[in-house]
């Protein structure tokens, strides 16, 4: 049986612990956008929205909606002191030119080599690439935040992605409701698991084999 995982908000809180002072960070649509609301006290993080903002703060309340002040998912955002605006070509020069320290993207599937699939579910067809392919290639570090398994309980961390790729070999770390897993040249390394979840429990819902890190520990927030 699938072990019980942590709620989505806690995944965002765990990912927020990866933030460092002064970093430029891009948050993908969905779960990753919640990370902006959990920046550790005392850190200045420059959140970049690919629609042309550097320095947005958290998600704004709905009643403060300003249609010209949105992130790339269309959500209303607030501005931090020092924020600036620019156009899409400049925004992607930032992304593709290696100026973004960290991208946090949602995922549908991740392979053991760190291939990411997050833009199309083949059964649904169509799909939307948005900025994901550019971010996966251009950001210096890429963390994928997602549920550990699909709705039917099947693993999303696979030997090979079956969905169309966003980019090959681009993921550095995977944070799910069950675990924190690093993609390394030697394979996937299990670093942390949610409270009450054993390495064997994580392995039971992960297709490729996981090595347990020497300093393996419980996920904290």
């Amino acid at each position: 049986m699938r072990p019980a995982g942590i709620p989505r908000d806690l995944i965002a809180m765990r990912v927020a612990r990866e933030l460092e002072d002064g970093m430029a960070v891009n948050l993908g649509i969905g779960l990753p956008t919640q990370v902006a609301n959990h920046v550790p006290e005392g850190l200045t993080v420059w959140f970049q929205a690919e629609n042309g903002i550097l320095g947005y703060g958290g998600i704004a309340p709905d009643d403060a909606f300003d249609q010209d002040l949105i992130n790339a998912g269309g959500q209303p955002v607030t501005l931090q002191p020092g924020a600036c605006f620019f156009d899409s070509a400049e925004s992607f020069a930032m992304i593709r030119g290696g100026h973004i320290d960290l991208a946090i993207l949602g995922g549908l599937q991740v392979s053991e080599r760190g291939d990411l699939a997050n833009w199309m579910v083949p059964e649904r067809g169509g799909g939307s690439i948005g900025g994901a392919m550019d971010l996966a290639e251009g950001a210096r570090r890429l963390i994928v935040a997602m549920e550990h398994t699909a709705r039917d309980g099947s693993p999303r961390i696979l030997r090979e992605c079956t969905y169309p790729l966003t980019a090959p070999a681009c993921v550095d770390r995977i944070v799910t409701d069950l675990a924190v897993i690093d993609v390394t040249p030697e394979g996937l390394v299990l670093r942390e698991a949610a409270a009450g979840v054993s390495p064997g429990g994580v392995q039971s819902v992960t297709e490729p084999s996981l090595q347990t890190a020497d300093d393996f520990r419980e996920m904290t927030f």
């Binding site: 690919e50 010209d68 156009d87 690439i129 550019d134 090959p168």
Partner: protein
């Protein structure tokens, strides 16, 4: 001095023809030329190839699907990977009635930039190892595989800014710039919708983001309060 100002959106787009390729600025609710798109809906122009970042539920562009005016969209975001509600565009796409060319957003912006800057294409690692790379010319640069991408241009660009003057200089509000700034450079006829139209000389030169030489026509539109569709 000749004024580029038009009195109405209908007049500003009067020569848009069936089969035209049109760039539409805007990113979801920010910087969308709502009144120009509405005028295009009312004009019944057909067989349009549209170039825009996104087309989805609540986007004025989706209204072009009501009377099936679109033949093809070139966009980065058009069909949600999840979500229960479908846009009209999505319905027509799934019925095989409209074509879609999905382009990574950065590649879309850079192709338009190249089109406007007289650059014959560029190499980028974005899309390598994905469906975007199928049939594409590749080249190894600094040990890394790159794809060759062609420039994009259009017959018309419909763009939106906050303020503009009668020479076509434009000032944007907050995140309105997005694709508007680059599209202003990449079409034969560029039509700008602004909320406030002022006389030449009234805008601060340091504040002007789009120089007037790129803009052929400028028209005052209304501010439309948009909403977000999660």
């Amino acid at each position: 001095m000749t004024s580029k100002a038009f009195l109405s959106c209908n007049e500003a787009i009067a020569d848009v023809f069936d089969g035209a390729t049109i760039m539409f600025g805007g990113f979801i609710t920010a910087g969308t030329p709502t009144d120009l798109v509405q005028a295009l809906v009312e004009r019944d122009t057909s067989n349009i190839t549209g170039i825009a970042n996104n087309i989805g539920i609540g986007d004025p562009l989706d209204n072009l699907c009501e009377k099936r005016q679109l033949r093809k969209m070139i966009a980065s975001f058009a069909i949600r990977a999840s979500g229960a509600r479908q846009s009209r565009f999505e319905e027509q796409y799934r019925a095989g009635e409209v074509e879609l060319e999905l382009v990574p957003q950065g590649t879309l912006a850079e192709r338009i930039r190249a089109g406007g800057a007289g650059i014959g294409g560029f190499y980028t690692p974005t899309g390598v190892g994905t469906v975007v790379a199928e049939g594409r010319e590749t080249r190894i640069i600094d040990g890394r595989e790159h794809l060759f991408e062609l420039p994009l241009r259009a017959d018309f660009a419909f763009i939106k800014a906050h303020r503009g003057d009668t020479s076509g200089n434009l000032v944007y509000r907050r995140a309105e710039r997005n694709f508007n700034v680059t599209m202003a450079t990449a079409a034969d006829i560029v039509i700008a919708e602004v909320e406030e139209l002022v006389e030449t000389g009234e805008l601060e030169p340091e504040a002007i983001v789009t120089p007037g030489i790129y803009v052929d026509r400028i028209v005052k539109g209304e501010r439309h309060e948009a909403r977000w569709y999660p």
